[in-house]
């Protein structure tokens, strides 16, 4: 045990180093020390004061390598060494923006974070396990089915909405809790009641589902069936056998989470003004305070590693079948040949180069002015083509045909599919864009008359269909189906020949034509909501498209070969996982700039890790099957084996993951828009609508229709995706598939 611990701790070191270097690289690609100075000094910065700040904070060195110094100083007289080396002796230094000692500040802020995170976690576990148990007990009943749908419903609501609604209802309307804030001392608890309750409610859906799945898995095992057959009562089975064994994965999963409790939740702390670690990280990102950012990622990664270590140790303690270290040594690593490595590396290069090429090409194409904007229409065409090819090939496979038959039988899934198709149609209509052409007669430079072709702004098919409501703009807010403005404005009236201004609700230009009301600039809210559909689908789809090739490649490789390839890939994804996701995406967004494509790329680059881990696990299992072993001993090239045996057998997992992660991505876009690194101006998205809605709720009287529309639309899409994904998973799960083609 001791040797294993030491080995694991040593293994942590290169990962932590990698995390620090990655954070450093990400940060300094985007920012220069002058930028940090400017962020810190604010509006009144002059070149002299910037130079002074940079030198006072010890930032006037070259970033990576100092060519002007001698000997060892070439490496040590750089920002990399000066800023990061001290971390290894746990000297966190001082914040760049506030000059306070970081370590002291962390100690000070840990208490609020923990006060909020620990009760959420503990209570969450208790509630989720209890309710999952109840559902598992009543499985198959009407109650269970309704409960499942309710869980999916709750899972499909954005956490932002829970927070906004929760604050509004509990603190604003019922006045049971303070809205926000924190106070050290005995009154501490009253501030965390509300965040804990909201955290609990927002996590219930996913938590119950997960725990219930684990319990059901346990219930369907052989020994439980035997016990039942022997006459043991259902209650005793549940409490004596199922619960104890289901707790293994639950608790060990919880171990990973425990260290991250210290890091606090960025969003919660920001909304509830709790001065914890999460808000410290948020402030550092906004203020471009590198000293704090690197400290937080350093600590975060260490905690993450500790979490993984605790998970492994707890596995040993809880499950007598597993001993430390034996899981790995028993598996013989498959040795890859040089040709195989070459082939895979080539594949990786091809994917990356193709991806970059596509992006750059897309950029170039967007810049070209043509009648049909090339990039959007090309993307659309490619997507439709891809889907068509998939459907044609899937019809030939038994697995897909069976799955389809199974799904067709479920009414709820079919309804969900119809709704999804509707959204897809809207998105497709919105992607086909072309310009209107206008011929203008001009006099050319040499005096002769000629004509010039002017292209207008490209409009999509959806724009043209919705043109009547798109063009009907009002002055400002108006309620759904109203005939007057919502706010009072100065209206000129002629009285006795004089024009005076009267304060009143001006009648609308297009009364009763706005089904969902209008927004601040008078644009029809229904139009905005429909336009945001494409953004949501692109975010969900394109991100997954970027993430999938890498996830499949790395997951299969890691699972199949084991050994050093597995170690390298695990290293890469551990490093990526230990940096807080928002931090990573925010840094990437600063590199790429704001925009829809950039959001997709950033989320794609950070999103392949989860799927990769799942595929690795699955590949490990498939590798042990007889036909794979046979192929190996026959000498088939590893590339072929992976291509023909492994990948097709994990595709169902990929598909399930695509559909289920889709909803998470759509919700994540809303969070990104909230912190300001979203899709930017000019692109409609539900995240931006929610963002706008927050301030609108503060008005008197309240403007509720923007929030209601975006919430309803998002809910419909995400709920349908979740329901359909569930049905798909049930249909494709080999354990539930009946052998022999019977159904």
């Amino acid at each position: 045990m001791g040797a294993y611990l030491i080995r694991r701790i040593l293994y942590m070191i290169p990962i932590v180093l990698g995390v620090v270097m990655l954070t450093f690289a990400l940060f300094f690609i985007v920012n220069s020390p002058a930028d940090m100075a400017r962020a810190s000094l604010g509006q009144k910065a002059t070149p002299e004061s910037i130079a002074r700040w940079v030198s006072a904070h010890d930032y006037d060195h070259p970033t990576w390598f100092n060519t002007q110094s001698k000997g060892l100083a070439k490496l040590t007289d750089t920002l990399l060494w000066k800023k990061c080396a001290r971390l290894l002796i746990f000297d966190l230094g001082r914040s760049d923006s506030t000059e306070r000692e970081i370590a002291a500040e962390i100690r000070h802020r840990m208490l609020p974070s923990l006060t909020m995170a620990v009760p959420t976690f503990v209570l969450g576990m208790l509630v989720n396990i209890t309710l999952a148990l109840i559902f598992a007990l009543c499985r198959g009943t009407y109650f269970d089915r309704v409960g499942a749908v309710v869980c999916v419903l709750m899972m499909s609501i954005s956490s932002l909405f829970y927070i906004i609604a929760g604050q509004f209802i509990f603190a604003g309307w019922l006045r049971l809790f303070p809205i926000s804030g924190f106070d050290w001392g005995p009154g501490m608890l009253k501030y965390v009641f509300l965040p804990v309750i909201i955290g609990l409610i927002s996590g219930i859906g996913a938590g119950i589902r997960y725990n219930r799945t684990l319990m059901l898995e346990e219930i369907n095992t052989d020994y439980v069936r035997t016990a039942r057959a022997k006459g043991l009562g259902e209650g005793r089975i549940l409490f004596l056998h199922v619960l104890k064994n289901a707790m293994i994965p639950i608790l060990t999963g919880a171990m990973t989470v425990i260290p991250t409790l210290f890091m606090g939740s960025l969003i919660m702390e920001s909304f509830f003004a709790i001065p914890g670690m999460g808000s410290m990280t948020m402030n550092a990102i906004v203020a471009q305070d590198f000293a704090v950012i690197r400290s937080m990622t350093f600590i975060g990664s260490i905690l993450f590693m500790i979490g993984l270590l605790l998970t492994d140790i707890s596995y040993t303690l809880v499950d007598p079948r597993i001993t430390l270290g034996n899981a790995e040594s028993e598996r013989e690593a498959v040795r890859p040949s040089i040709r195989d490595i070459g082939k895979f590396f080539l594949l990786f290069l091809v994917i990356t180069v193709a991806g970059c090429g596509l992006v750059l090409g897309a950029r170039a194409l967007t810049a070209m002015e043509t009648r049909f904007p090339i990039m959007d229409n090309l993307l659309l065409a490619l997507t439709l083509l891809g889907l068509f090819v998939f459907f044609v090939r899937a019809r030939r496979h038994e697995m897909w045909r069976n799955a389809w038959r199974q799904i067709r039988g479920k009414r709820l899934a079919m309804v969900a599919l119809c709704v999804l198709s509707l959204f897809a149609v809207i998105a497709v209509l919105d992607s086909a864009r072309w310009c209107d052409v206008r011929k203008v007669s001009v006099t050319l430079e040499d005096g002769t008359p000629g004509t010039n072709t002017i292209f207008s702004e490209p409009l999509s098919a959806l724009d043209r269909i919705l043109a009547p409501i798109a063009r009907n703009t009002e002055r400002t807010y108006s309620a759904p189906l109203s005939d007057r403005l919502y706010t009072k404005v100065n209206v000129p009236k002629v009285v006795n020949g004089k024009t005076i201004f009267v304060r009143e609700h001006e009648p609308l230009v297009h009364p009763r034509s706005h089904l969902l009301g209008t927004d601040k600039m008078g644009k029809d809210v229904l139009y905005i909501t429909l336009k945001s559909v494409r953004t949501a689908l692109v975010v969900g789809g394109l991100t997954t498209l970027i993430a999938i090739p890498f996830a499949i490649l790395f997951g299969c490789l890691a699972g199949f070969f084991g050994g050093w390839i597995d170690d390298v890939i695990q290293y890469v994804y551990s490093t990526l996982s230990s940096i807080p996701w928002i931090l990573l995406v925010a840094c990437l967004m600063m590199v790429f700039g704001t925009g829809l494509m950039q959001v997709c790329i950033a989320m794609g680059i950070t999103g392949w890790v989860g799927l990769c881990r799942t595929l690795r696990g699955e590949t490990l299992k498939i590798r042990e099957r007889e036909y794979v072993q046979a192929a190996l001993s026959l000498g088939t090239s590893k590339f072929e084996i992976i291509r023909t045996h492994i990948v097709p057998n994990v595709m169902h997992l990929v598909l399930i993951s695509v559909v289920l992660r889709f909803s998470r991505l759509v919700l994540a876009e809303a969070v990104l828009s909230y912190i300001g690194v979203g899709v930017g101006a000019g692109t409609y998205s539900w995240g931006m609508m929610i963002n706008m809605a927050r301030s609108e709720l503060g008005k008197d009287p309240k403007v509720w229709w923007t929030l209601a529309s975006s919430f309803a639309a998002m809910l419909m899409l995400v709920l349908s995706a979740n329901l359909f994904g569930d049905a798909l998973r049930d249909a494709l799960d080999p354990r539930l598939r009946v052998r022999g083609g019977q159904n």
């Binding site: 706010t487 301030s695 008005k699």
Partner: protein, 720 residues
């Protein structure tokens, strides 16, 4: 109804303050951003520091137009013209000899006790607050302390943001800085010689700053303290605005004891320095500060006897003064004249970054005032066309009142004068910009985004400041017509803008080749309000058939582009330091030397504008000065180097229990305020009744749902 039956008589449970503080004379305020430093040589103004630290002069609370009156000074100095010889040159100088009041004491502070200047690590172990040190002391304020403040402003290490302006006007300041720099060089060389090769100036001085004897080095400089109660400062040329600077905390007195105290390594290592503490003569002292959470100020027991100011009854024929007196009386601002101040014992500043909770807590009565939330609360306030504030019924029911202040803000669209399309000084190019000015409907913007709380901008000077008048001469004749019947300006019709655009070479918004004119707007803002503003801007340009493209980049690139001049238009704003027209016009004075801060992106060079600048600066407020300013404004309006947008109205909302409130940051001080804690407790109780009833209903509902579910489950269990 049923719920309210439950609700009567409960104590509010949502208070963010300890129960022991109920009913006490405490003022609750918010801070939105963390101030990085409280060093008076560096900050412009801070609502916290302004309560603790006093300077020579201050604006009279009640008099309008704004008038500086002595605060720590005994009386207002009369500037004397004198020929001085400085460094071999003869200068036409202006001497200000300021008498200081006697008997003013500093607050109690450990720095005034000599033994605290030799603290050991053991003394400070576990020390969280400097005030926990056992021994504190005080002493009387002397003129030398002002001298020290001026000397510190020149210290290159502190980087005073207004150093350039002051050095250009105060005789001897630039030369003094050279002396300081030489002294620093000398000391650094000495330290380097001692330390050897591992010497690094920054890390060495982080905890062991170089101790400069400012006053010794200042020997022979024209700023002196001839005796304990006189402070003398000399201007190179007439610069009346120095009086306004001297009312800011830059010139607040700095006792040498506090510098010596905070030079100690043991304190600096604990992050205790002049950045985290303030020592002054003001009515309040810093009690505790936790910048992420709250800052608490307590009453200063050493504060001199001070009284609420009085406003003299005006002569009956002075119409404006009579109206002002009546307004002040109606607002209740004259009730406390002559009474001793301050009356509030404690001020609590809470950190509140998010605007919704800030607003809600204000409505709940947990904050006594709410400042400048126009962005958020479009519908809470309304300004009727007569400029009388009309609040929504909800706010009126709660007896909340709005108090307007002097607008010292100026917002505009900055145009890159070096740009080929939108810049340039030819008449054609000016016409393009003027067309943009006419098309941009500021009145609509103010209506939609600021709830009517703002004045359209005719030039850089806001209404209420000298130089801007409410009559026909005060408007921008290139953008507005004066309606004589109604006595107010009317925006020129859009057709005139289109004509101007055609004359500028873009008939109907297209250039010679038939391509639509495109203007790029550079922005770094991502808030929903900013998005709506972009849509609004686009709509204005569409009136002229001009296409708006948006370049959205982060704040650093934006600043870089502004400095390097690679943009077409972007948004800008400015808040004045003092209420003199010069502080608004200096932006455009680039033909002379540059001003303070970051206006280098302006690039408006006009000799015609710059010629009368010096004259404008020196003249006292008079018809002559008004004429000069008007001609300068005409030049600006003709060239239109910016699209003048608006002056937001500075206002604050106050609860009924807060008296004598004024939102002007330069004038309002907590010492003038009076609160009625009893009224506050009543209000809080009334509006924060916890709805326990709803909770009970919810739990009942939950039980109603859960019980049959549990019963089904148990039945299921028994059956299998």
């Amino acid at each position: 109804m049923l719920l309210t039956l439950f609700a009567v008589g409960f104590r509010p449970v949502n208070s963010p303050y300890p129960a022991s503080d109920e009913g006490k004379s405490i003022l609750y305020r918010t801070v939105v951003i963390e101030e990085k430093t409280w060093d008076t040589a560096i900050i412009y103004s801070s609502i916290v520091v302004d309560e603790v630290v006093e300077s020579l002069f201050a604006y009279h609370l009640l008099k309008r137009p704004y008038e500086l009156v002595p605060l720590i000074a005994e009386s207002m100095p009369k500037p004397k013209r004198q020929k001085r010889v400085f460094q071999g040159k003869e200068i036409d100088a202006v001497v200000y000899s300021i008498p200081i009041r006697r008997g003013i004491l500093y607050q109690d502070h450990p720095c005034f006790v000599e033994s605290n200047h030799h603290l050991t690590p053991k003394d400070v172990r576990g020390l969280k607050n400097v005030r926990d040190l056992k021994s504190t002391g005080t002493r009387e304020l002397v003129a030398r302390d002002f001298l020290l403040a001026v000397c510190r402003l020149a210290d290159p290490r502190l980087d005073c943001p207004v150093y350039e302006v002051l050095a250009n006007n105060i005789l001897g300041m630039a030369e003094y800085r050279l002396r300081l720099e030489a002294e620093l060089e000398k000391q650094r060389a000495e330290r380097k010689a001692k330390a050897g090769i591992f010497y690094n100036a920054e890390s060495d001085e982080k905890y062991r700053p170089i101790d400069i004897d400012y006053l010794v080095l200042a020997e022979g400089m024209p700023f002196t303290a001839p005796d304990s109660y006189t402070f003398e400062i000399v201007m190179r040329q007439p610069y009346p605005q120095i009086m306004a600077w001297m009312s800011m905390t830059f010139f607040a007195p700095v006792p040498p004891e506090v510098l010596a105290f905070y030079n100690q390594t043991v304190l600096l290592k604990k992050s205790m320095s002049l950045n985290t503490d303030m020592v002054g003569t003001g009515p309040y002292v810093l009690h505790m500060s936790d910048p992420v959470h709250q800052i608490v100020l307590e009453r200063n027991p050493n504060y001199r006897p001070d009284f609420y100011p009085t406003l003299a009854k005006p002569k009956p024929d002075d119409v404006k003064a009579v109206a002002h007196y009546a307004a002040m009386k109606a607002a209740g601002m004259l009730e406390d004249s002559g009474k001793p101040i301050p009356s509030i014992d404690r001020i609590v500043y809470r950190m509140e970054k998010e605007s919704i909770p800030r607003w809600r807590k204000f409505l709940q009565g947990y904050y006594d005032e709410s400042r400048v939330e126009a962005e958020l609360f479009d519908e809470t306030l309304r300004l009727s066309s007569k400029s009388a504030s009309v609040l929504t019924p909800e706010l009126e029911r709660r007896n909340i009142r709005m108090v307007n202040g002097q607008s010292a803000l100026f917002k505009w669209f900055e145009i890159n004068m070096n740009d080929k399309v939108v810049g340039g000084y030819s008449e054609k190019q000016c016409k393009l910009r003027r067309a943009l000015c006419i098309a941009y409907d500021t009145e609509e913007y103010i209506e939609l985004f600021n709830n009517g709380l703002g004045f359209p901008s005719y030039g850089p000077i806001p209404p209420g400041i000298f130089g801007q008048t409410d009559d026909e001469q005060g408007i921008n004749p290139y953008v507005y017509n004066w309606d004589a019947d109604q006595g107010r300006p009317v925006r020129k019709p859009i057709e005139e803008a289109r004509t101007l655009l055609a004359e500028a070479g873009y008939p109907d918004g297209v250039d010679r080749s038939g391509k639509q004119l495109e203007i790029e707007f550079m922005t770094a803002a991502t808030t929903p309000r900013a998005m709506a503003e972009i849509t609004f801007l686009r709509r204005q340009f569409e009136k002229l058939n001009i296409r708006l493209t948006v370049k959205q980049i982060d704040i650093n690139r934006l600043e870089e582009n502004r400095e390097s001049g690679s943009f077409q238009i972007c948004r800008a704003g400015w808040m004045a330091d003092y209420l003199d027209p010069e502080n608004f016009l200096f932006f455009f004075n680039n033909s002379a030397r540059g001003g303070v801060g970051n206006e280098s992106g302006f690039r408006y060079h006009s000799l015609e504008f710059a010629a009368p600048y010096q004259q404008m600066q020196e003249l006292p407020d008079s018809p002559e000065r008004l004429a000069v300013i008007r001609s300068m404004l005409r030049t600006l309006q003709r060239d239109s180097p910016v699209v003048f947008e608006m002056h937001p109205i500075f206002y604050s909302l106050y609860h009924e229990w807060v008296y004598n409130a004024t939102p002007d940051l330069m004038i309002g001080r907590v010492k003038y305020l009076r609160i009625d804690p009893g009224l506050r407790e009543e209000y809080r109780r009334k509006y924060n009744q916890p709805q326990y009833g709803a909770l009970v209903v919810f739990l009942l509902g939950l039980a109603a749902f859960a019980i049959p579910a549990i019963r089904t489950g148990i039945r299921h269990l028994r059956e299998t």
